[in-house]
């Protein structure tokens, strides 16, 4: 490696060897500092990605390593896109995605709006509200199956308390009609604070002078809300929606622990479907093609996300 001994602004004393080594040029330092990160990411992300793409064109199965590996072209992709199971899991994912986002935005924004009224102790309560989202989704999701137990579960008891329904008469995670809502409820419970925090930042970024000007112009509160608050908080809201969208599109841990994809395959989101193909049926080639399709989708969402992120940053 070449050592550049240059660009030192003032060198009063003659440099010894140690000093010379540490006096590497900025370019070398930049290289040295960035290289390990890039290298690790290449090894743990890009190399596997290329491997996945290669596998996706074969019929390789991990549990039959001695079988001849055949090149099958885009056959796996064709199979996935024509498999009704894929579409069913996409549907389950869409239901999950749409409802969690709607509920989290509505509740999260409302909470942020209320907290922004700056009542006494709002900081403390904000911190408490945030707690669920920092915890391990798998561990918490597992405990929610206890809250969802018919008869003895706290959730069912709560429903009985407010509506009088017999708590033994329904099972949130055991019934085809209820299970998709069971996962929406837990995800909303867990991640509403995320949307709330970002919305709160959005609301706090609006200078009060704008409201003062609107007040002078005798604009009604209602009008102020729709013409000032919403448009100015919108980039933040979009950021929250995109982030939740990406995260919930990949959703695995929480739902696997809650329902395991069941009953039947009603809550089998794409990640869970993929996990079954890859690690239970061991159809590695097929699952790799599936993974590539998910990559491409998430990558598309991510590039939109980064654009939105930069927009918010410029504010």
């Amino acid at each position: 490696m070449p050592l550049y001994v240059a660009q030192r602004v003032a060198v009063a004393t003659p440099s010894n060897l140690a000093h010379r080594i540490r006096g590497l040029s900025d370019r070398t330092i930049a290289w040295l500092f960035v290289a390990p990160t890039i290298f690790l990411l290449l090894a743990v992300n890009i190399f596997p990605l290329i491997w996945t793409i290669r596998l996706s064109l074969t019929n390789f199965r991990t549990n039959r390593p001695n079988n001849a590996v055949e090149f099958v072209g885009i056959e796996n992709y064709r199979k996935i896109l024509t498999d009704p199971d894929t579409w069913q899991s996409l549907q389950a994912t869409a239901h999950f995605l749409i409802w969690t986002i709607i509920l989290q935005v509505l509740i999260g924004f409302t909470l942020a709006y209320l907290i922004n009224k700056k009542f006494r102790g709002n900081d403390l309560w904000t911190t408490l509200i945030v707690l669920p989202m920092m915890l391990s989704p798998a561990v918490v999701g597992n405990f929610w199956t206890f809250l969802y137990q018919p008869q003895i579960g706290l959730f069912n008891y709560f429903i009985e308390f407010i509506s009088g329904t017999d708590p033994a008469s329904f099972s949130m995670i055991g019934e085809v009609a209820l299970a998709p809502w069971a996962i929406v409820i837990v995800d909303t419970w867990m991640w509403t604070p995320f949307v709330m925090l970002i919305c709160l930042a959005g609301l706090r970024s609006i200078p009060s002078s704008i409201y003062e000007a609107a007040e002078c112009d005798r604009a009604s509160k209602w009008r102020q809300f729709w013409t000032i608050t919403i448009p100015m908080a919108l980039p933040f809201l979009m950021l929250a929606v995109l982030f939740r969208g990406i995260e919930n599109f990949k959703m695995f841990d929480l739902v696997v622990q809650l329902t395991g994809g069941g009953p039947g395959s009603t809550t089998q989101l794409t990640s869970i479907d993929l996990k079954r193909e890859a690690f239970e049926k061991w159809r590695t080639g097929y699952a790799s093609a599936y993974a590539v399709i998910l990559f491409v989708t998430v990558f598309g969402l991510a590039s939109i996300y980064v654009k939105a992120l930069n927009k918010v940053k410029d504010r």
Binding site: A30, T52, L135, V140, L147, P167, K250, F252, L309
Partner: protein, 312 residues
């Protein structure tokens, strides 16, 4: 602060406070319930109606940390009297303690892998972020986007080749394998967060140091690092929380030696049905440290969850 016509009225504040506090209390019930269930007896835990008030018991914790086996009443009578409170609890159920459970090991695995990967990702992240913040790195924006995009990858999709790769390299179910994996996943967060923190340190400090005869390295660790200490600390906590909570990779790539707590806790079962107090006890010990960290982190929370995009 001056009086403002846009300041909410007292009544508005009162209503807003009431609604927010109600939400907070409702949302905290499941967490309180986890902690409470850990101190219940198995029969109290599954009582109907659910018991809000109960006599606290350490049974859940005893069951969490021990493995037990059933003995016949005659054998039990032949044993010397119980020496400790946990022996006493176990013997009520005609059981004896046969040894420690796996919970301790799994918890330690979480600690080792969590701290190991946090240290690595913060170390690598700090130097990379410094380079991105201060130097002209070719293709800087593309590299930064690439780093962020690695975070967006669905873990299950990455897990297929990693699984095969680790099997070849002998890294599956090892601490090192999990540390490297979590480091790679956390790097995106640590680079982006730390770049934000370092960007905020005025470049004039380093320029002054350079003029005083410091080398770049010296300027970096004597001037920049101390200034970035808060940022580095909060980044570290975020990385730790991620590694601590991670489930998908842990469930697919570890099974014994290096298994962390999240895939283990749901598998805790008792004799005759799930031992919910033991599960809740395990969950409590696992979750409470994160609750404490969250409260410590509250000022930087927003930054952490948005990769440094939104600062208060």
């Amino acid at each position: 602060m001056s009086y403002s016509i846009t300041e909410p009225s007292d009544r508005q504040k009162w209503i807003a406070g009431l609604l927010v506090i109600t939400y907070a209390i409702v949302t905290l019930i499941p967490l309180v319930w986890i902690i409470a269930t850990g101190f219940k007896t198995p029969s109290d835990a599954i009582a109907y109606p659910p018991k809000v008030f109960f006599e606290p018991s350490l049974e859940g914790y005893v069951n969490l940390f021990t493995s037990r086996s059933r003995v016949t009443p005659e054998d039990l009578a032949a044993l010397p009297p119980p020496a400790t409170f946990y022996d006493r609890i176990v013997r009520q159920y005609d059981m004896v303690i046969t040894g420690p459970s796996r919970y301790g090991e799994r918890f330690m695995n979480s600690v080792i892998i969590g701290f190991g990967s946090t240290f690595l990702s913060v170390f690598l992240g700090t130097i990379a972020a410094y380079a991105f913040s201060r130097f002209k790195v070719p293709l800087k924006d593309d590299l930064l986007f690439f780093i962020l995009s690695t975070r967006m990858m669905p873990p299950i999709a990455v897990a297929i080749p990693i699984f095969l790769m680790y099997r070849q390299l002998g890294l599956s179910d090892t601490h090192l394998g999990m540390i490297l994996l979590y480091t790679a996943v956390n790097l995106s967060l640590s680079v982006w967060l730390l770049k934000g923190f370092i960007d905020e340190i005025p470049i004039e400090y380093e320029e002054a140091a350079l003029i005083d005869g410091y080398t770049r390295f010296q300027a970096f660790y004597k001037v920049v690092l101390p200034q970035a200490a808060t940022g580095i600390a909060s980044t570290a906590i975020f990385c730790l929380i991620f590694a601590w909570n991670e489930y998908a990779f842990a469930a697919l790539l570890t099974s014994g030696t290096a298994q962390t707590a999240p895939p283990f806790i749901p598998t805790i079962i008792g004799t005759g049905g799930k031992d919910w107090p033991a599960v809740a006890a395990g969950a409590t010990l696992f979750l409470v440290p994160i609750m404490v960290f969250t409260i410590l982190l509250r000022k930087h929370l927003l930054r952490g969850i948005t990769f440094g995009a939104v600062r208060k």
